[in-house]
Symmetry: C2
Amino acid sequence: MTTTHPARSTPVTTIHTSTAPFSGPVRPGRSTLTPLDSSEIRLTGGYWAEKQRLNADVVLRHCEDWMERIGWTGNFDRAASHQAGWVHAGIEFVDSEVYKLLEGMAWELGRSHDADLSSRYDQLVYRVASAQDDDGYLHTSFGRPWQPARYSNLEWGHELYSFGHLLQAAVAAERTGIESALVDVARRLADHLWVEFGPDGRVAVCGHPEIEVALVEFGRALDEPRYVELARLFVERRGRGLLAPIEYGQEYFQDDVPVREAEVLRGHAVRALYLAAGALDVAVETGDDELADAVRRQWEATVARRTYVTGGMGSHHQDEAYGADFELPPDRAYSETCAGIASNMLSWRLLLQDGDPRYADLIERTLFNNVMASPREDGRAFFYTNTLHQRTDGVAPDEDELNARALSSLRAPWFEVSCCPTNVARTLASVESTFATKTPAGLQVHQYGEFDVDTTLSDGTPIALSVRSDYPYDGAVRITWRDDTRREVDLDLRIPSWAGSARIEAPGQTPSVRDGRSTTVRGRFAAGDVVTVDLPMQARWSLPDPRIDAVRGQVAVQRGPLVLALESTDLPDGDVNDVVVDTSVEPVTTERGATVEVSRLAAATADWPYGEPGDATGPLGAVTLVPYATWANRGPSTMRVWLPVARVEG
Amino acid sequence: MTTTHPARSTPVTTIHTSTAPFSGPVRPGRSTLTPLDSSEIRLTGGYWAEKQRLNADVVLRHCEDWMERIGWTGNFDRAASHQAGWVHAGIEFVDSEVYKLLEGMAWELGRSHDADLSSRYDQLVYRVASAQDDDGYLHTSFGRPWQPARYSNLEWGHELYSFGHLLQAAVAAERTGIESALVDVARRLADHLWVEFGPDGRVAVCGHPEIEVALVEFGRALDEPRYVELARLFVERRGRGLLAPIEYGQEYFQDDVPVREAEVLRGHAVRALYLAAGALDVAVETGDDELADAVRRQWEATVARRTYVTGGMGSHHQDEAYGADFELPPDRAYSETCAGIASNMLSWRLLLQDGDPRYADLIERTLFNNVMASPREDGRAFFYTNTLHQRTDGVAPDEDELNARALSSLRAPWFEVSCCPTNVARTLASVESTFATKTPAGLQVHQYGEFDVDTTLSDGTPIALSVRSDYPYDGAVRITWRDDTRREVDLDLRIPSWAGSARIEAPGQTPSVRDGRSTTVRGRFAAGDVVTVDLPMQARWSLPDPRIDAVRGQVAVQRGPLVLALESTDLPDGDVNDVVVDTSVEPVTTERGATVEVSRLAAATADWPYGEPGDATGPLGAVTLVPYATWANRGPSTMRVWLPVARVEG
């Protein structure tokens, strides 16, 4: 393994075109690690710059065009018109998709100041702002004479959920300094919420958490403690049965147990994760260590017992929910893209508080194998759910029609409930924000790739370095200092939990490393100094805990941070459902995946599938495994991450 | 094994108190096997008489009381009142529950002529009849000015589904000769349907099949070919996209592929099975062998690849649907009770046509392990879904409240959608109808237990015999002739597919037997002659087909026709989720179940469940397995049918 592969680096130019300082999505009032300003870290090439450019060039526009075409943005115009009886387009909470798009556009604008994007953004903000009521309320589905009354359906209406996304879009506007009317709109809305739901308002919560995490960050951005207090009230009220019973049980919206008493995340996965992120934010701002401990405990239990190998969360289609402990069926994995994004929101907040690299490990796993599985290579179609085993080819979705969430094996351009595409958009627009942090002692690198960091420590010590690698395909990372640090600083480098044989070399030292920990390289660095990290990219078997019944007797193959998958496209005669893998032959690492030796089960001919079935197989030879996130980019296919192990005779 | 265990027979007296001849639920116009009249076969004791008596004494009344209390029967009174704006109780199709109850009451009345039951039945029929419109239409949820218009929501309204159950109730009334007004009500309704949906009516189908199977049988009962023709139209119209698209796809209501072209049952399991039963009936009455072959082929593919070891069908909670081939997760098994009942409706019709004992095999499996898992031992609570792996204790349902379908590990007294209890009621009231048939050559015994048969063959040859056994717990069956047959006749005895070492002894002969086939005992039998069948009841391992990923590396234990289960109630410290079984020690057969040797996995302590997990175990010794259908009768528990096999070292 060599240290760099410049020929294989993706030739993407720097997207950053402005040097105006601007801050990022999460700014806790206190934390162990300090996030970098968004203007202090810039993707320069490779995997992530390519994805971020795809987002800027394609995904944002795709979301805009779809929502314009099907009337979701038009809802705001109709609301502003004050004409009677207009018909709302889409389900109740489509406002939130417009807000997530605005958030994504804002992060992109903060970086690029692209004139066309800026103009589109301003127009969209204007349309949203025009729909705001005089008292600050802003929703296109509720409150008009022919619509349900405001707050008449807190269980399912998603009103406060939508407001939360508006507030998060306003945070992006505020932090990037793009002078958007959205900040005032959000402030008036938040003040309205304070009146309606604050200490003198109704004692209620929204069926879909999101307002909590949004209120805290908006309160941080505007230095307004009332907003944090309102978030605290929402967190404390939950788990006390304020929401009416539903068929899925109160745990569906985490109204079964108070947040500080819960042992594990449960119910609807996105709801649970947004709530946990908001609860941690509240805990941080109020110094509530008990609440923070509860969230930390829930994260640990959830990761240990309710998380797919891809980082995906959610085992049930029916209620988009976590299953019981170790209930992780690959073929019914829901693993909603939004749950992966929400999981990273939570892990990032915990990482900032604790500095523990395990949170960065999960962020890496979830980004590469869950979130990035969603967008198609061309950025014009998305997975909503992310199964780990596709049994049938399914039907290619219509590229011009709204799609149901989980009927096809192919990504779809838009959905009736389309939370995932806009969530991907806002995530990609700010993805580098979690790649590095700083402390008074130095810099922490949590994720690898190609990016530049230019920051200063609290005493003014300059930190300027370039990270270069063809990660995640190549494990050779080269970090070059571009400025003299003038004093001894710490460079903390995350060694992923899968990287037992990692090596680090720095000027005059070869520090010892341990997987799952950070390695500190301490020194006074001069411009031109190079630190290299060598992470093992040899494909490896992963065995499931024996309690995960659904994948007993099966193995997954991982390669660096990537979970690999067998896709029928790579099989000679096309079906992954009757293939077994020979684990006596080690997987062979390839440029972006691996090959393994497989055999095929004899054809299924029994008239009853229980008894003493045989296990006869015919060898198929070596087959290619591809990065899971890239599957179904070559047309309809069957696919599986977990490969049944051939029964060893004798 | 001895031939009889009189001391262990359940001391239940004969329920039959009338000798008036009456016919049964299914009377094809042509068939290989001829069903017995319901008055020609009588349960006399044992397992089934006990269940049928529970049905008569408890279940029917339970259904009546619940539907009275929550206003479902009251809907008919309100409809009859013609007052404006009355509020309908329950979801759109609760009429159908009243009809299924009426069907169950009718079969019971045909047998018992119980005066109290007769009076209750007549009153209920009167209330239903009073709600019929002048043109024959009869539905409490549609057609009034404040309700949705008739046939305005064929996808979800279940109007024709409800009508089908009314027609089936009328068939029971007609066949048992109880002189019910329901027959005329049904005739007027069917004539209305002929106008609305017949050759000159709208070209449409109902989202939930059921009207097809009901129309054919009602047409048979009344000798009215128009009803069969209407059923034929409904069958032929389906699969052509007449129903509007829904999120679950057109296969949900089998509107994806024409019935005669489909290869396997798919979509919503109860819908698929009712439709297949109706399609076979149509094929029989119209001589459409191609259609019959299609249904037969679908049955075969479904049994071979989409059926649980319990006979249960339906792998998805979300859409109550079949999964893909071999997608049979035990912990998310839906296996709706109604699907088991519908499966037996189909298998019974195929058995009558083909005479192949494989259909009777599946009926036996499904009755004992799926349908009979539903009612609680006291007959006052029911499973709607029948999971094969209960991971958590769940919450005991409120005995006085309506319940959601699948939230608890305990049976619930009633459900918001309560199709299963009334379906159990009508099934138990006529369960013996599938136990034996006749041909000109003799009698076929398909199911074992305790019952008497008194019939005559087509040439007047009398067949009178008593079947006695403590089946399904004991495999010794003693068949005693009570009359001289006067000529040589065939007694065909089903040898279940699991009974490889079965033995049959008859006067002067010991016929050879083969599992999965029927054995013919041919002879001129005299009163007092005894034929014995000895079926092996040794508990046995069953291994799953290697394509059933969800139970790979696991075994089930079966004992005779019973699938056994491990319930936490029988474990020293109560959790089935970390137990592994030692398959090197054979299971030990007990009076009603078995014991197996198990060990317990070491406590789960890993912070991430993928990698190189250990499999350390501590021995627990022998534990008891109980008949699956009896689980959760001792309070909340965890339970599993499939037991992970301990990894053999070295």
